[in-house]
Amino acid sequence: MQKVNKINLHCTINGSKKNFQCYPMARLLDVLRENNLTGTKEGCGEGECGSCSVLVNGDIVNSCLIPIVQMQNKEIKTIEGLTNEQTLNKIQLAFLKYGGTQCGICTPGMIIAACKLLEKNQNPTLQDIKTALAGNLCRCTGYSKIFASVLAACQEQRP
């Protein structure tokens, strides 16, 4: 097989325009982490656990399952882009307050999934939260504190 060449990739990450030189089959997850966006975690690497969740053009995806060649001109948002460096958003604050995080590997994915849910539905039921977070596995908390955190974040969001 002929040698695979790197490609020029242009995309927007957390609002800034980026250019990368990378192998076209490189996973979005690896490209992010190699460019200092290490908030996105690798859990299973096979689309089961949701630790690597990011938003692409507003859709939640597992970045471990995306070849970077498909990200040309796309808009990507990672956990680092949810808020500015000085403040945390309501979901992050609720995770801190209600013990929604322990080892922290699943947390960025959980928060991305919760943000995606709240964007569509500001008044979710417990079942809505469970469905939205069903693709995010946590091996520490037993989930109840995560669900409690998301519920609390919604309540704090209400006027």
């Binding site: 097989m1 076209p24 096979e46 070849p67 498909q70 469905t131």
Partner: protein, 293 residues
């Protein structure tokens, strides 16, 4: 161990014509890759064959749903997320909506495509039983032969083998719209509601006239090397009035007709038992009887 990206050639195609031109190249084998929710899992496991891949994600021609008078035409690149939010599909083909909802998680649904679900040819996929009940037509396109329609019931030939040649791409799934009154049933049995691959999946549709079964489809996944219809049991039920006795006979027929395997997710005995139980629940529903075990 992860596959090394240096070993994989992948090109993003811009439109259907470009993709089909690559596939028509007789010297090179190109493997289409859409949302990557199956193939990229193999990459992570170090099991994806090295070689040439053709990204067909975002091809404009494959990303449309057309509502026509006699059928709904779903582009092969339509994601499960898009299926879930389409109101016509929800109203008229609710088992497909249910199947999309039962597949993976929200993050998988935003990338997994209906064409990929068929082309990956897993006997455990969640949409095929619904598509079999709807008499789906699979549109396959190539430069050499143009568009060809296949009856989905004849599309899968054997484990991972399909009516799909090297230069062809699945381009659309057509679902005939039926005005006749019917009863539908869809049930996936897995270890967990999300992210589980089915132990068994069953979809059914029955048309009745004067309380007799006028036409019926019973479709299963995870009971054979391909998703299939239980034709012998369907044949037995034709023309019958559904009563307890007929239900029990149908369940016995079904157990004889299916030959599932023991594997990592379940056992043959469990699958046979549950296949019959699901059929019983469906038939009890259409017979409007309360079955007492």
């Amino acid at each position: 161990m992860n596959g090394d990206p240096q070993d994989y050639h992948i090109i993003q195609t811009k439109n259907l014509k470009e993709a089909l031109t690559y596939l028509a190249d007789s010297d090179t084998k190109w493997t289409p890759l859409a949302g990557g929710t199956d193939l990229m899992v193999l990459l992570a496991a170090g099991l994806l064959p090295t070689g040439n891949y053709l990204s067909i994600w975002d091809l404009p021609e494959l990303n449309k749903i057309h509502i026509e008078d006699d059928s709904i035409v779903i582009g092969a690149g339509i994601t499960f997320q898009e299926i879930l939010t389409n109101q016509t599909i929800k109203k008229e083909f609710s088992m497909l909506t249910k199947a999309a909802e039962m597949t993976g998680s929200v993050a998988i649904q935003s990338r997994a495509t209906i064409g990929g679900n068929i082309a990956n040819a897993s006997p455990a996929a969640d949409t095929p039983p619904a598509l079999l009940c709807y008499d789906a037509i699979i549109e396959v396109t190539s430069i050499a032969r143009g568009r060809i329609d296949y009856d989905y019931a004849t599309f899968h030939l054997d484990y991972k083998k399909m009516q799909l040649k090297k230069d062809e791409l699945i381009t659309a799934i057509k679902l005939p719209r039926s005005g006749k009154p019917h009863t539908d049933y869809y049930h996936k049995v897995g270890t967990r509601e999300a992210q589980a691959i089915s132990k068994i999946c069953f979809a059914a549709r029955a048309y009745q006239q004067n309380n007799k079964v006028d036409d019926i489809r019973l479709a299963y996944a995870s009971v054979a090397p391909i998703p299939l219809r239980a034709r012998e049991t369907e044949f037995f039920l034709m023309g019958k009035v559904i009563c307890d006795q007929v239900i029990e006979k149908a369940c016995t027929k079904l157990a004889a007709e299916l030959s599932p395997l023991d594997d990592i997710r379940s056992t043959a005995a469990y699958r046979k038992k549950v296949a019959a139980n699901l059929l019983r629940e469906f038939l009890c529903g259409i017979g409007q009887k309360n079955y007492k075990s």
